[in-house]
Structure formats: C-alpha cells, structure tokens
C-alpha cells in the first residue's frame, strides 16, 4: 500500500467529515429550551453542553436542575444525567461542582423513577458513598422499602470492602436463593470467616453448577491454599460436572501460586490420565492449556 496515498485518503475523509458536520456552535445563552422543537432536539442540545472551561460554570447548574426536575420526562432527565457523568472524566474542572452533583444524586437515589434511581445509586456506590450504602443495606434488611432489586443491592455493596455489609452477605449466602445468593457468595471472596462455608458449597454435588462455580472463585481468593485442594479434587473427580472441573482446571492454570501448590508430579500424571479419557471438549481443552502452561515453565 502506498503510504502517501493512504495519508491523502485519510485526509480527504476527514475533510469530508468536517464539511458534513459543520454546524453552528451553540453557546450557553442559546440554550433556550422553550424554543426546542422536539425531545430528540433537546437531548442533542444537552449532549453538546460542555463541562470544560468557562462553559462548565454555566452549564453544570442547568444540567443539575434538569436532573432533579420531576416535571421533565425520564428521558430528558437521563440525558442531563449522562452529560453530567462525563464530568468524571474532567476531574479538575468538575471538582467544584462535585458536592452539588453528589447532593443531586442522593436526592434522586430515593425519589426518582427507576432508571434514574438505579443509576444514581450505582454511581454513589461506586464512589463508596456512605449514604447510598446505608440505603442499600436498609433495603436488604427490610428497614425500608428496597430502592433497587436485592441482587443489585448486594452487587453494589460488595464494591466496598469497608461497607459494613459482611454480616448481611453471610446471611444471604446461606439463606437466599437465585441471583441474590450468587451475588452474596461473590461478595464474600475477601471474607476469611466464610472459607468453611465456601468450601462446603464447592464440594456439595447437590448445589447447582453455577453456585458451586461462584463459591469456588470466591474460595480461590479467600484461601488459595484451600481452593487448591478443592480444585484439584474437582479436576480428578470423574463423577463430577465436567464444566465445573474445566473451570477448576482453568483457575489452576492461570494462577502460578495455586499451580505451584497442586503441581506435584502425581497430580500432573493424574490430570494427563483424566485428559485422555475425558469426553467433554471443554475439560479436554482446559487440561491441554494446563499442560501447555507447565511446559512453558
């Protein structure tokens, strides 16, 4: 390929794009929303509101006002929210507006329609906001009406190690069902007090494959040594679920410390035997990957 021609072609495409998208740059004073024809037009206007430079001082309060204005449609409020979220990517310029933004998020976390409420709670939770964490915990413990589905609440609380939610997670890991239990088991991957419970679930063939897999991944983090033992037993158990065995094998392969714990010659020999007799392609592939990794080492 001729590099010069390629460059010319790129430049021509950029020039064509420039011509196509030449439009009047709107200034803040032009944002007379009463003149906007349609909701789509309004959303496009919102998406052009800059959060940098001198524009930020004028635009952010307008956007915050739209976000908290319950007379506006959910779509418009979400548009304002999405524009404000871009502020995260201009931390220096957005910093003066952060307190007002956080205040607005806390307000809509309790009062707004579902999509706004869920997104606000998530944003706050990812920022380790204590107010939001309390709202989520109170919902799980039925102290207040849940603002978000329980599985999602567990998911968001698990983000912060210090969110004082461990006791709730342990209870849900034992007593809950479905996605709530799955998320609780994931959340306990840092919890030394849950190692025994996780071990029990991993080896319990009455549990579903999905739950056992999640428990195994959490056990791997909580106690690599005990995971190594559980995983090696799983891999070699010809009566256990092939998918689970493949996952265990893959987990050993991709963690050098765990591979070192289990990688005795007797285990390697047994794995080879399992691989040659396995009917499951997934299990065979995962064993092949393990064997390749120990050859490289």
């Amino acid at each position: 390929m001729d590099i010069e021609n390629y460059r010319k072609q790129c430049l021509a495409e950029i020039k064509a794009e420039r011509r196509k998208s030449k439009k009047k740059v709107r200034k803040v004073s032009d944002y007379d929303f009463s003149q906007v024809d349609s909701e789509e037009d309004l959303l496009e206007t919102i998406s052009e509101m800059s959060l940098t430079g001198s524009d930020a001082k004028k635009n952010v309060p307008i956007l915050l006002d739209m976000l908290t204005n319950s007379s506006l449609s959910g779509k418009v409020r979400m548009g304002a929210f999405n524009q404000l979220r871009l502020g995260d990517f201009h931390p220096v310029e957005f910093a003066p507006h952060k307190p007002a933004y956080t205040k607005a998020l806390r307000e809509i976390a309790e009062k707004a329609p579902k999509e706004l409420r869920h997104t606000a709670l998530e944003q706050l939770a990812l920022d380790n906001d204590r107010y939001a964490q309390k709202l989520l915990r109170d919902g799980l413990e039925n102290i207040r009406k849940p603002l978000i589905p329980s599985a999602k609440a567990v998911q968001l609380l698990s983000h912060d190690d210090h969110s004082s939610s461990r006791k709730i997670m342990r209870r849900l890991a034992k007593k809950a069902t479905g996605n709530v239990r799955a998320e609780a088991l994931r959340a306990l991957s840092n919890d030394k007090l849950s190692i025994g419970m996780l071990e029990g679930i991993v080896s319990d063939k009455k549990e579903s494959t999905t739950i056992r897999e999640i428990a195994a991944m959490s056990l791997k983090n909580a106690s690599p040594k005990r995971f190594a033992k559980a995983a090696s037993n799983l891999v070699l158990d010809g009566h256990d679920d092939a998918k689970l065995r493949a996952t265990a094998m893959s987990a050993i392969t991709h963690n050098k410390d765990i591979a070192r714990i289990v990688g005795k010659p007797s285990f390697i020999k047994s794995v080879k035997s399992v691989g040659s007799g396995a009917k499951s392609r997934l299990l065979k592939n995962s064993i092949r990957q393990f064997q390749a990794s120990i050859r490289i080492d």
């Binding site: 794009e17 990812l126 893959s250």
Partner: protein
Amino acid sequence: MNIQIKFPKYDADGRTFVTWRPVEISLKVVDVQPGVTSIPVTLTSRTANQGGQLLFSRSLTHRGSDEISLNVRTGGTATKVWVGGKFPFASFSYGDVEIEARESISGELLGTHPLMVRVRKNANQLNNSERDRFLSALATLNGNGMGRFKNFRDMHVGGAPDIEAHGGFGFLPWHRIYLLDLERELQSIDSEVSLPYWRFDQAAPNLFKRDFIGVSVGGRVQFKHGHPLLNWVTDGVSGVLRGPGNGPNTVPSLRNENQTIALGGSSNPQFTSFAGMQGNPHGSAHMSNGTGWITRISTAPKDPLFFLLHCNVDRLWAKWQFVSNRHDPAAAGSYDQTGSGAPGNRPNDALWPWSGPKTPPRPTTAPGGTLAASPMTNAPGASPKIKDVVDYMGVVTHKNLMFAYDDVPFRN
C-alpha cells in the same frame, strides 16, 4: 557459505519482533571461500498463512521495497540493512514471516531468519488464536487478583492519581505509557501478544461475545465456560460489572474517527485542540455501557474492556499524529509547549507513577514502580517524560517504543 542475519535485539527465547517502523539489521558472510571480498545477496521475505510481510531499504524510510539486492562484505564486517513490516500486512503468529537471503545470481538460499510483525489490532478482527492468547495472558497477569495486574488497577483510582492521569494535557501521554507498561507485562507472559483496541465508533459483534470480552446479563458480565477471565478478580471480588449499553453495536452520539481527528484543526493541526477528545469520544465511550465499572474513572480498570477502549483512544492520537505530521515532541503543534500545565503535564515532566512517589498534593505512593522493560528497545526508559512518548515510532527522535497500530503506518 551462508549469511548470518542479526537483528539488534532478541528476547530471552531468541525471538525478535518489528512493527511498521524499520530496524537496522546486520548481515555477515560466514564460511566463505578465501579471496572473496563480497557476495551479491538478495533479501526477500517469505510469508506463511497470509501472515506478515516485510520491506527492505538501505536507510530509515517508509519507502522500502519487497526485495533488496546488495553486496554483503566478507572479512567479518557486517553489512547493514533496514527491515520493517510492510503496511498493512501484520503477522498472526511468530515466524509466519521470515527473511530469506539468497545469492543474487544462483538463487541459492544462504540464510533465513524468522520474526513477527507485531502490531496492535482491531479486537473485532482478531482470529481465535490471537484472541485466546491475549485473554490467557491477561488472566495470568491478573493472577486471580494476586498478580501484577493489581498495580495497574491501583494506578488508575480516584484522588491524586486521577489528577495525574486526567487533569490536563498529560491525559494522552499518561495513558500511552500506562498501556505500554501493561502490554510489555503481557508480552513477558506471551511475546506474541499485543494489546487489541475496541473501535467504539463501529459495531463490534465479535468482541461483545461470551468467548471474548463477555456479554452483560443483569449488569454482570458472563463468559463462556472455561474462559480465562472467569478467574478475573479485582479488589478481592471476582467478576466484572458492566451494563448492557449498546453491546456489539456502534455507540450513538459519540464522535467517530474522522470527527475526532478533525478536532485538531486542519491548516495547522494542534495537539491542544485534539486533546478535546478526552470528553467525546473518550468520556462518551466510557459511558456507553450505561452502568458498571467502566463508567467511573476510579473503577474503570476493573473491567478488561477499559484497556481496549484506551487502546483505541491512543490509536486515535497515533492516527492524528500520522495525518498531521505531529511526531516531533518539541514542535508547537505536537504538544502543549507553554509549560503552564500542572506538574506531570509539561513536556519535561516525568510521568507518575513511573517516576516514583511525589509530595502532596500529588500521589505519595507509586504502584508498580518503573516502566516495564522491553527486550526489543531501550526506549523510552524506566521513568519516561512526556516528551519521550510523543514520537512513539521514532520518526524524528529515533527512539522506537516498539508498538504500532494495524491502520497507522510509519512515515518519515
């Protein structure tokens, strides 16, 4: 008689790699008859499996040719030639291209040398082997949350580190080095791997699948059974939280590639104008999944998709540099030369964390230490400055950082 072909650098396994940017190799005749002062040799490349192709030249230029004929001196003196990948023919695996040295008249094969034209590719276009190697290397780096990946997660958090990475014109250089650091770590696990990019202004159906970056179900990413990233752990918690977003489709209301490059201006392109891409498309791409870790700076690197997103951001910068001739780090249009930026954003500033802990209000810890070394190049050094990362292909400075993109050629 044969020709010894030697590249400037090799890794611990004796392998060598190039990008589009030529490197200078040496040719030596061995076991030659006495009295012969030179041998006429023709160099070509032989490609297997539609892999990489090469260009040859006597000087550093993008105008190389498919073959070159020259007289290789005898008597122990090396004859020099430049070799680089032939754009856009990148390798798929090591050794799918090799140099062949033949006696020019008889055609006798005198020597061969395998190598790889290793460049960063569009994630949506990787073959299964490339995809799996990348995922496996990434999972190994993560080490179930206990591996070296933890440093990369800890470099990109809120507070003072956030200001280092996003608080000024240093945004693009900081992320360029961040990605390079990660890629070099991946290559120390599997040397054939390079970081792929998510071209977020185009549909990417092959990327958003269970066998690659995963599919969002209920805000949590699902992978196929046996997928290496099933073992992904960050901050002690396994899994990835990511909203459904547009999934494999293009992202609406996001600047496309040409619109992004156009930001830099036309008659006298300026980096300071191009840098506006930090908001859109960069920020917009982060937000495009709606919810999940990638939507917040402090949690974004917990999602592997983040690195593919930023690889595309860097590619856009590289492409802007290519079309705008902006490789000279000292040139006014290549970077903000006013010196008015905050520490960590000026051309002569060494980038944190690779330059160690700072004093408040800058970060007082430096996760990961210095930049990972590469067996292929000494550039940009262990603690690079902003000016060291602008000319990533050594167009002007001759300091080749040894990465390139599949759609951005070398041009000098």
